[in-house]
Point group: C2
Chain length 398, copies 2
């Protein structure tokens, strides 16, 4: 299939040697014209240098490029790390013939924490990437591959929206497989569109989409130092900034797209054998629903039970109980893959063998948890916990 790429963007993804594996590790995205840019970032108080830099530069209306390196997070690297992140922006401006300034560049990094960047390799890589820029699909795919770290596969998504004749396009690339917690642990995502958006629109729409997607996923709940989600809108589809009505259609598509992309992360979670969807309903507040869903999602006992195809509802119900949110045990009900396991605070008979088989035989497990008579709800996606995850993270060394 060919990907409908938005107009006015060029891409490159090359191998600079930052990754010992020799895989692609420098990704460069350039907009031919100034683009409106917004960002959503990690809520970790220990933030990587590139996050500090991007926070200071978004939202803004004249971004020309995004530079990403994988294999090194440039996090916990002190003053040197801050200088290196800034230097990456300058190197991009230079490599692109000073067609724009370093202030018009955004930067993302992902990989091992606490090592300073090998700047000679980064400089070489940025020069290589600039000379490899192209607007075709292969260039886009190279850029999407160059941001991956422990991911099993490429994570991309695209869509077209017909606004009464005017067609706008969105495409996104993401990475993330471990250290994923609500509020986007080591997750990078860059959404590109040729729609015209004001800075205010871009920031508001990106935040709303993130709250429905990347803020509701986890692998092990470890919120990282580098999470960054960027939206660039260069207006090359023509026409003025989106009207309120057009904006609704855009948000709808942006949300579907980011949910689609977000689910790929726990599905691709390190060692994962199941993608677990947790639907919490009946909560008193959306915040409460989020807290309960993420608490259930981050219980190792729930995650190992699903891995073992064990409909161990006691672990799920008890996890909901320690989320620190008021719940109504009288209304507490649970269904797993459609099997009713617990109803209004009472255990009920169910076909344990059939329930176990449905977990074992399906890659996705659906947990429906009613926690009261409230109207607030939340859907959270996570992965199960396997011996492979432990082996992987015990051996992945600093």
């Amino acid at each position: 299939m060919s990907i409908p790429l938005p107009s006015g963007f060029r891409f490159a993804g090359i191998a600079s040697g930052i990754k010992a594996s020799g895989k692609r590790d420098i990704s460069l995205i350039v907009s031919d014209t100034p683009a409106t840019a917004a960002g959503v970032y990690t809520q970790n108080l220990v933030v990587a240098a590139p996050v500090v830099l991007c926070r200071s530069r978004t939202p803004r209306s004249d971004v020309r490029a995004v530079i990403v390196n994988s294999g090194n997070a440039n996090a916990c690297t002190g003053e040197k790390g801050a200088q290196d992140a800034l230097q990456m922006c300058s190197l991009v401006a230079e490599a692109c013939g000073n067609d724009f300034t370093q202030e018009q560049v955004l930067v993302m990094s992902t990989g091992v924490i606490g090592r300073t960047l090998p700047m000679p390799k980064v400089q070489f890589g940025i020069q290589q990437a600039a000379s490899a820029l192209g607007s075709d699909e292969s260039c886009f795919l190279n850029a999407a591959d160059a941001i991956l770290t422990t991911d099993a596969g490429r994570k991309i998504s695209s869509t077209e929206i017909d606004l009464g004749g005017r067609v706008i396009r969105l495409v996104a690339m993401a990475k993330g497989a471990g250290m994923i917690g609500p509020n986007m642990a080591t997750m990078l995502c860059c959404v590109l569109t040729d729609a015209a958006l004001t800075s205010e629109q871009a920031h508001r729409l990106l935040q709303q989409a993130a709250d429905m997607s990347f803020n509701n996923i986890s692998v092990e709940g470890h919120t990282s130092t580098n999470d960054t989600m960027l939206l660039l809108a260069n207006g090359q589809s023509g026409g003025p900034a989106l009207s309120q009505q057009e904006e609704a259609a855009f948000l709808d598509q942006l949300t579907n797209m980011t949910i689609e992309l977000a689910k790929q992360i726990p599905s691709d979670g390190e060692g994962a054998t199941h993608l677990i969807e947790i639907q919490v309903t009946g909560a008193q507040s959306e915040q409460g629903a989020r807290k309960i869903a993420s608490t259930v999602a981050n219980s190792n006992l729930v995650k190992t039970a699903i891995h073992g195809a064990d409909p161990n509802w006691g672990r799920i119900v008890s996890a909901a109980g320690y989320a620190g949110v008021e719940i109504s045990t009288a209304h507490l009900s649970l269904r797993v893959n459609g099997f009713q396991l617990f109803s209004n605070g009472e255990p009920i008979d169910f076909d344990a063998k059939a329930a176990s088989n449905s977990i074992r035989d399906n890659r996705e497990t659906l947990i429906e948890l009613q926690v009261g008579a409230g109207l607030a709800k939340c859907t959270h996606w996570t992965s199960d916990l396997t011996a492979e995850y432990v082996r992987f993270n015990s051996e992945y060394t600093t």
Copy 2:
């Protein structure tokens, strides 16, 4: 070694068949005279029937017996579960010749959640236990063994305090190896003393000891439905209730004893190969220090790194960053087993090989984390995360 048992208590631990394994699963403790009793319980909102019952009965001054069953938690068992817990107390009063009433009995249960108790077996077991009561060490050890579930070994502790000639004794039994989170997930502990305490003293001293010990341990942070810590003081050592000065000496010993016992739980954590001690200092409040310590303790990335003997300080520092507590990154410093890995927000060179060896070659790992210039601190004990833990909890079925 012989255990100095407090005067006036009798014990029994027998096998009633609740456990398919045929191991001891009914433990009975009787005080020959009315004892002051206090309890500290799980903070899970989904609480087991025995916890609801004990909460309603403590503190009080005339407790005569504690009945414990293992193999079934009597949790999420609805109205039937409440009746069964009450019935266990009545059966104990009967089996002991109605020498006291069912209101003077406390009850604890641990095991699988969501199954109603096999009451015929429980009734038989209580009768057997009553006829096996004895005050010698073997009876005490049987009682200590009968409360265990997935524990690798018996967990007991004892001490003597000489209050200027008057010697008082304390002995305690505990269980717990999984589903352990701050605020005492599936953990049962019963402390017995022949000291004389008022109900107010017993409750206050037990709460203080719990806050220094069982409330600072975790295995995977899953707070259970059944956690119960009881203190029975029957005054058989003679003399009046402890004076303020005697009380200080008592609390000191009680705290040391419960810390000693508490550490045995993560040390015996399912599949654990390391006991991890996390000392957080420099926090603005004790509550903040607790939050940071437990967040680091419950990070699977930290737990797997220690399992892999990887001095991956990035995972530790970043975990502190998402605890939701204000920290000063400028003061952020970290030592692991004495190796300085991070200092005042900057990475520093260290001998990674030697640091890794010190983790690999020692059963205990010490993490010292300074999070600011504050005066508050907290010590938390947890276990590492191993493939064995995952296998165990994937196969331990409902």
